[in-house]
């Protein structure tokens, strides 16, 4: 079980969190004309990298904040965690 450092609450066990997928995906702006391709990329297409991955976790049984976690998908090492609106290094 992972040990995730919530930037709001501190180190907490994985079972307090829900996984939220790739954190680098950016939702297209509202009311903007975009191609089917662009939209499909946003809705469906995700990279599944082996290694470093910036991902979303939701601290559902804690502060209820969405956070960003930089994690190695093969070793599970967590390098850094960020608040939702924090700049990524």
């Amino acid at each position: 079980m992972l040990y995730i450092n919530c930037p709001h609450c501190g180190l907490r066990s994985q079972n307090e969190f829900a996984y939220g997928g790739d954190a680098t995906v950016k939702r297209p702006e509202l009311n903007k004309e975009i191609s089917d391709q662009e939209w499909d990329n946003f809705v469906y297409l995700r990279k599944s990298p082996r290694g470093k991955h910036l991902e979303l976790w939701h601290h559902i049984s804690g502060c209820r904040q969405w956070i960003k976690v930089e994690r190695d998908t093969s070793t599970h090492e967590i390098f850094k965690t960020y608040k939702a609106n924090e700049a990524i290094e």
Partner: protein, 998 residues
């Protein structure tokens, strides 16, 4: 009581306390502190089971977790425990155990005929023997395999025992209380670290219990007792026996199973049977020790052949002789310790040493004790069927290829020592890549992966002096990283006998003309010839060889067999062992009971049960409840002999004719507040929200980004910047997460807050033509006329002194209101509604009537919004704004979503107006068409229409709009029904929606 094999005054069992137990129905005696194994051996019993494949007789091979043979079935306190290891299970008064994998009895086993049919059970027999024809599987192969195979029988009864989980944190977890575990725990504890020391066995000390050594001026046993007593007295230390750390998971999470009551006749009150500990440790010291390796020779699975260290432990710990004419077969000095122990207890052993001319302190000691030693000698084969009676032994050439002077000598046990294998399982589970140590012919942990270090013989350190010194250092180092107290204690001096190098030889060649089975894996009956065959058949990867031959796949997970298997593969392949590599070690290290894994999450405790504040009223009024997510909701209120059908029909009819009240507390409720709340709702819902006035409610639909309907519900504008959102019961949690996602990550610039208020409000829906009259009486000061409180209106009022919120919304399609009060006032509200409602023929209605009402009206719910439908499919396209953007809108332009033959909501009525259509039925054109019959869609919900008194269903079918009026068929292969039906509008009752506005 005579126990022929029990020594006087030797061992650690409590001679004061005699314990009786039954094995295969026969009564035996042992002492407190005995295991089943030690007590049976004391009674001269060595036949305890049959092997998996050939049903060969099985005895005892080890003395602990490595035991591959003695797997028994235990009956304790009317519960059944399969697969317990006789070498670990302590006896208690009244214990009953049985052999497994033998029929009709362990002494006469019909399956042993497999032993003579070996050609049917070669390597890969699973894949070869039982393949064809497929029709044989159910009737012939499977029952045969099931009867012949397997270890024990699981109980089909509910396990009444209690199991618990515990979460713990510590600075340092130490997995084993042998010399390295004790030394490191002591050093770390003295340096102020929070330490957990876990020992699998009942007794602490590990190898110190059986070795002839001194630490400081004390014997190993005395030193153990002193250290344990001191550790137990320290507040920063937790010491646990009967506790196996079996899994090393991510981020230094380890799991340990503690057997609290397994050694007692009955679990004590307020204590669990077993407890699973989830331990998050800052640092881990793995001190799991090592397991002696077998030597491989003919019939080396005969009962009476066992590990030499086990024989020594049976003597020193239990005061039990495994035999009176022992043969010690060794390739290293360890066998000598066992021989000397026999000699000290008045038994004359013979040592066969594969080495030609070794010399060390302990060999000198054995010689001085006049123990007969034969150098360059091997056991060729054990003789005897149910117990060793003699052994063919031989001199072996220096190149270990040729055997000379084969002779038969009498013996009643053969104690083997093929040197030691470090238990690297936990280190390996942590991600540590192991490395091969040529000096000890075994794998040891490599660089630390997580915060773990391996110490003592688990790390391949086999001298006590080095072990103690290294463990004191590691205990200090890892604790000091955390405590920084620099309190280093001095390392005691150690006295031990120095030993010399072991012989790399481990597998005795077959003598000419003999075809003895030489076993590697004792539990799964994998012999040298099976590995040879697998390699001949082209298997190369050790992982494939393992699965093909089943080497190391039994419940002992190859603790004694893995390394010899690797050696053999590398010998045949002419590779070195590290090139072959080893198979992956996965948790658990030892079997863990399912009960312990489940813990308290059984039955009612497997999920929380949520009840509305009116629950006890429902109970008092004969409600029959149904699970709605984690909520319990009344499904119907039973009157007299009514069943579900009659009761729900009566309740629904009463709503259509008079007035009914339904507990709607379970609906999800979310407060949406902030200056940008309207803008936020406008982006979340498909319809327009910017112009909703204060005091008005609106029905809304929200989508996922992929265009699929996520949820629906009404949201009311309570004040300028405050909205009250409702969600379906099932989606409440998901919707909240969804809203938080957009507010925190996508549109952080919106000044809005959301919070769940589901549990803050109790809700009652009042529906039916009499509902306004009822409302007038409940709220005499409120103008509830159609103008005062119109459809989708909202008012706050006083309900007999209690503040209430009234929403004029309807799910039933009738004139209806929903009243919310604070949860604490829910019961009061409900009673008042029932009391006042009497004059208007009020009746409570449950979820079944609620369904009937909404189906008749063509209102969609979870069975239509099933994660596959877009608004069009559920006939919600009128709610999709063309003007503004919202979550998921762009997806609705996708060609699949705009295609005209999409499935769409319709109503379905059986032509005969009597046959109910099973939910899930397919709608087809021609019921006799060739399979697979093209389906037009499926029936999503069915009810008995109380308005028309005939069955009515909703269905989602292809090109639904143009199908109305068509005569088709509903087919349910599950219920074996084909029903002619007519497609009608989904708005079966009041299609103009007059009632809700009346």
């Amino acid at each position: 009581m005579t126990q022929d094999f029990r020594l006087d005054n030797v061992g650690m069992v409590n001679r004061e306390k005699k314990i009786s137990f039954k094995f295969n129905g026969k009564k035996y005696f042992g002492f407190e502190g005995d295991t089943i194994a030690s007590a049976l051996i004391a009674n001269g019993v060595h036949l305890v089971g049959r092997s998996f494949k050939y049903h060969r007789p099985r005895g005892f091979f080890g003395v602990g977790v490595d035991e591959p043979y003695a797997i028994l079935q235990l009956d304790r306190n009317n519960e059944r425990d399969p697969n317990i290891r006789a070498t670990e299970q302590e006896i208690f008064e009244g214990l009953e155990v049985k052999s497994v994998n033998c029929w009709p009895s362990v002494n006469f086993d019909i399956g042993a005929i497999n032993n003579f049919l070996k050609m049917f059970f070669p390597a890969g027999f699973y894949y070869k023997t039982f393949m064809w024809p497929p029709s044989f599987w159910y009737k012939i192969y499977e029952p045969f395999i099931r009867m012949a195979a397997g270890f024990g029988e699981a109980s089909i009864k509910h396990d009444k025992e209690r199991y618990e989980h515990k979460y713990e944190y510590c600075d340092l977890l130490i997995t084993g209380s042998g010399p390295s575990g004790l030394a490191s725990a002591y050093a770390a504890a003295k340096n102020g670290a929070r330490v957990i020391l876990a020992e699998d066995k009942p007794r602490f000390g590990g190898s110190l219990l059986t070795s002839d050594v001194n630490i400081g001026n004390q014997t190993g046993v005395e030193w153990t007792e002193k250290i344990i007593a001191e550790l137990k007295s320290m507040p920063n230390v937790t010491v646990k026996n009967r506790s196996q750390v079996f899994g090393y998971y991510d981020h230094n999470m380890l799991v340990m199973s503690e057997r609290i009551s397994d050694h007692l006749p009955k679990t004590q009150k307020y204590l669990p049977k077993q407890r699973l500990w989830y331990i998050r440790a800052n640092e881990v010291l793995i001190s799991s020790g090592s397991i002696e390796r077998p030597l491989v020779f003919g019939n080396n699975d005969t009962p009476g052949v066992m590990l030499s260290s086990a024989a020594k432990e049976y003597m020193k710990v239990y005061g039990v002789l495994v035999g009176k004419k022992p043969l010690i077969f060794t390739n290293n000095d360890s066998g000598y310790e066992t021989a000397i122990e026999f000699k000290k207890n008045g038994v004359n052993p013979i040592i066969l040493d594969t080495r030609s001319d070794p010399s060390s302190d302990i060999i000198v000691e054995a010689k001085n004790l006049n123990i007969e030693i034969k150098f360059s000698h091997v056991v060729v084969a054990a003789k005897g069927y149910k117990k060793v009676k003699s052994a063919d032994i031989a001199k072996i050439s220096d190149d270990k290829k040729e055997l000379f002077n084969i002779e038969n000598i009498e013996c009643d046990c053969i104690c083997v020592s093929g040197f030691w294998t470090p238990s690297i399982h936990l280190a390996s589970q942590s991600g540590n890549k192991s490395k091969f140590n040529e000096k000890i012919d075994a794998f040891v942990p490599d660089k630390s992966k997580q915060q773990e270090n391996t110490i003592g013989s688990a790390n391949g350190i086999f001298t006590l002096e080095e072990t103690i010194k290294d463990a004191f250092d590691k205990g200090f180092d890892v604790s000091n990283k955390i405590t920084e107290k620099n309190n280093k204690i001095s390392v005691p001096t150690v006295v031990e006998k120095k030993s010399t190098d072991h012989d790399k030889f481990w597998c005795v060649p077959l003598p000419k003309g003999k075809s003895y089975k030489r076993f590697l894996d004792f539990q799964n009956d994998v012999a040298v010839s099976d590995i040879e065959l697998a390699l001949r058949e082209g298997f190369r990867s050790i992982e494939h060889v393992k699965r093909y031959t089943t080497l190391g796949m039994a419940t002992d997970q190859g603790k004694t067999s893995n390394l010899n298997g690797l050696q053999l593969v590398s010998d045949i392949e002419n590779k070195v062992v590290p090139q072959v590599g080893h198979t992956t070690f996965r948790p658990p290290y030892t079997p863990v009971s399912i009960g312990a894994i489940v813990g308290r999450e059984v039955g009612k405790h497997s999920k929380p049960t949520r009840k509305s504040p009116m629950h006890s009223w429902h109970e008092k009024n004969n409600a029959v409840f149904v699970d709605a997510g984690v909520w319990l909701r009344p499904r119907y209120y039973k009157q007299g002999n009514e069943g579900l059908f009659e009761a729900s029909k009566r309740e629904a009819k009463n709503v259509r004719q008079n007035v009914g009240v339904c507990d709607v507390t379970t609906l999800g409720k979310i407060d949406v507040k902030g200056p940008d709340a309207a803008e936020f709702l406008n982006r979340v819902y498909t319809n327009a929200w910017l112009k909703l006035p204060v005091g008005k409610a609106r029905y809304g639909v929200m989508l996922r980004e992929d265009g699929i309907v996520m949820d629906d519900g009404t949201t009311t504008r309570i004040s300028e910047n405050h909205y009250h959102m409702t969600t379906t019961t099932a989606q409440a949690a998901n919707v909240l997460s969804h809203l938080e996602y957009y507010l925190q990550l996508v549109w952080p610039e919106l000044n809005v807050n959301v919070v769940s208020t589901t549990e803050q409000w109790a809700g009652a829906a009042i529906a039916g033509p009499n509902s306004r009259k009822l409302l007038m009486k409940l709220f005499p000061n409120l103008n509830v006329s159609n103008e005062g409180l119109p459809f989708m209106g909202y008012k706050e009022a006083d309900l007999f002194g209690v503040p209430a919120k009234i929403y004029r919304i309807s799910f039933s399609g009738e004139l209806a209101y929903e009243i919310n009060v604070e949860s604490d006032n829910g019961y009061f509200m409900w009673e008042k509604i029932m009391e006042v409602g009497k004059d208007f023929q009020i009746q409570p209605y449950g979820t079944e009537a609620l369904s009937t009402l909404r189906i008749e009206m063509g209102h969609v719910a979870g069975s239509e919004l099933d994660g596959r439908t877009i608004p069009y499919d559920a006939s919600l396209e009128g709610l999709v704004s063309k003007k503004k953007d919202f979550i998921g809108k762009r997806s609705l332009n996708r060609s699949a979503f705009t295609s005209t033959d999409r499935e769409k909501l319709v109503g379905v009525v059986p032509i005969d107006k009597t046959t109910s259509i099973p939910e899930g039925s397919y709608i087809v054109k021609d019921p006799k068409a060739k399979l697979p019959n093209p389906k037009l869609g499926h029936v999503s919900a069915s009810c008995w229409s109380v308005e028309y008194d005939n069955p009515f269903s909703l269905a989602i079918i292809k090109d639904g709009k143009n199908m109305i009026g068509q005569k088709l068929f509903a087919m349910s292969p599950l219920k074996n029904k084909t029903i002619p039906v007519e497609i009608v509008s989904s708005h079966y009752v009041d299609p103009e929606g007059k009632r809700v506005r009346s």
